[in-house]
Assembly symmetry: C2
Homo-oligomer: 247 residues x 2
DNA sequence: CCGGCGCATTAACAAATATCAGTGACAGGC
DNA sequence: GCCTGTCACTGATATTTGTTAATGCGCCGG
């Protein structure tokens, strides 16, 4: 808990507002939540497969991702998270983690005790519905990823991932003009879309060669949004964003 | 609404009991829900991508599945549902369907108006939590499927799918002795695990050749559960079943 | 009883993708 | 300023998987 708590939690309010309308009463209840701020460097696990967490975390700054590890070091990345997300909200009702959550870049996190979140939901059915809905959007994104991994070409998978990340950032006001940060390495992208890192490299070169996008350092620039969404068969409906998702 | 409504809805209670403990008060509230029973034959859409449903359906008899369609007829199956499931519960908070729901076999369904479900959740926070949790388990299964499709061998994917289905049926008392119905065609399996139907055929023959399972007509018999779960790298934790999942 | 249809199966071949084995650029720690 | 590790990138080769096309079987309706 800190002086900045109100500020930290206003990010959560902003996130919920991309999904529902938040009343003043609800806003105040949210901003009264006890939070513990913590800084983590890149590639630190926040919760691990098998853990029984007693708190959720709100991502304030930086990127995080969820993943599962299989035999022989195979890894599947399950989701990518940006400021405003609560990547382990599900732990509120599923006591045992079935996957891990890790920082991708250096992050600032606000930890909120489950106790406090459950109190909040007990007293504010509207917030309960909003948080429930947030986990449902999460699931909708999983469904789209399944489709991406199972049924699209590698080129389609990569472009679809980029379109999604750009729109998520844009929805939180963190990107515009078809450019954004892209801290995922080629190996991360590979583990997110179910191919090898070598193949990601080759397809990225193809995409660059076609002039569809630039990916340099940690920065993605999309040169032709319409062409890209076509290649990806990208339809943003699954993101269930409140406002019409014009980038 | 019908005389059989109480009976129909006791299936929902049984389902929730595999996940939480249901009080008598809650049980009575559930059994008071207004339901419309309907029979559908195999391969009928229940809700379609883009629809704005005004009700949820409880699956009473038969199997259903969710799917997305892509260009050129590609299809990704997202989940398989058995009696006790509410496959479109998410429509309670996500007004627009981002995928379709269809019967796999002939089905009996109980439709419950959103209005009535929302009333139920307003008056029974415990049920809200249970339903929310049910959608979270749904999402946990999506995560496992993503991993399955993205990072396992075709043989692993098929065996993993079979292990999951068997345990889900077992959890609802619909299967024992390592045998169960399996109405999925090879083409359905292919669309669930992201490979071609021809390849599914080849790998199934391999599995039969190894004596791990029998798949004849519409019936699956698992000959060596331990060997199968090993091949699949199957860990049932992600199903979040209340009781320890010994088959 | 026949015809049609969906499903399982097969083979031959083509395409996509993984694997392996590197190279070089760059950044951070000491 | 050097060492070390990570990351992007490359080429050769091996595997896996998809595609296409054809066959046969069993079931259902007329």
């Amino acid at each position: 808990m800190s002086l900045a708590a109100g500020t930290d939690l206003s990010l959560l309010v902003r996130k919920l507002e991309t999904i529902i309308t938040v009343s003043d009463l609800e806003r105040r209840a949210i901003e009264r939540l006890p939070v513990t701020r913590r800084q983590l460097s890149a590639h630190q696990d926040i919760v691990r497969d098998g853990d029984h967490p007693k708190q959720c975390c709100l991502l304030l700054e930086g990127w995080a991702f969820r993943y599962k590890l299989l035999d022989e070091g195979k890894r599947q990345i399950l989701s990518v998270h940006i400021p405003g997300d609560i990547p382990d909200l599900q732990s509120l009702h599923l006591p045992v983690m079935d996957h891990s959550l890790s920082t991708l870049t250096a992050c600032t996190l606000a930890f909120i005790p489950h106790e406090a979140m459950l109190d909040l939901t007990r007293n504010h059915p509207g917030i309960t519905a909003a948080l429930w809905r947030d986990t449902l959007v999460d699931a909708a994104i999983f469904r789209e990823w399944m489709t991406n991994i199972g049924r699209r070409s590698t080129l389609g998978r990569i472009t679809h991932l980029f379109c999604e990340i750009y729109l998520k950032l844009h929805g939180m006001g963190l990107a515009r003009d078809f450019a954004c940060e892209m801290p995922l390495t080629q190996g991360d992208i590979a583990d997110a879309i179910g191919v090898s890192n070598v193949h990601v490299n080759r397809v990225l070169q193809d995409l660059r060669g076609q002039g569809l996008l630039t990916l340099q350092g940690q920065r993605l620039v999309i040169h032709d949004w319409d062409a890209l969404t076509n290649r990806a068969e990208f339809d943003p409906a699954y993101l269930h964003q409140k406002r019409p998702p014009g980038p």
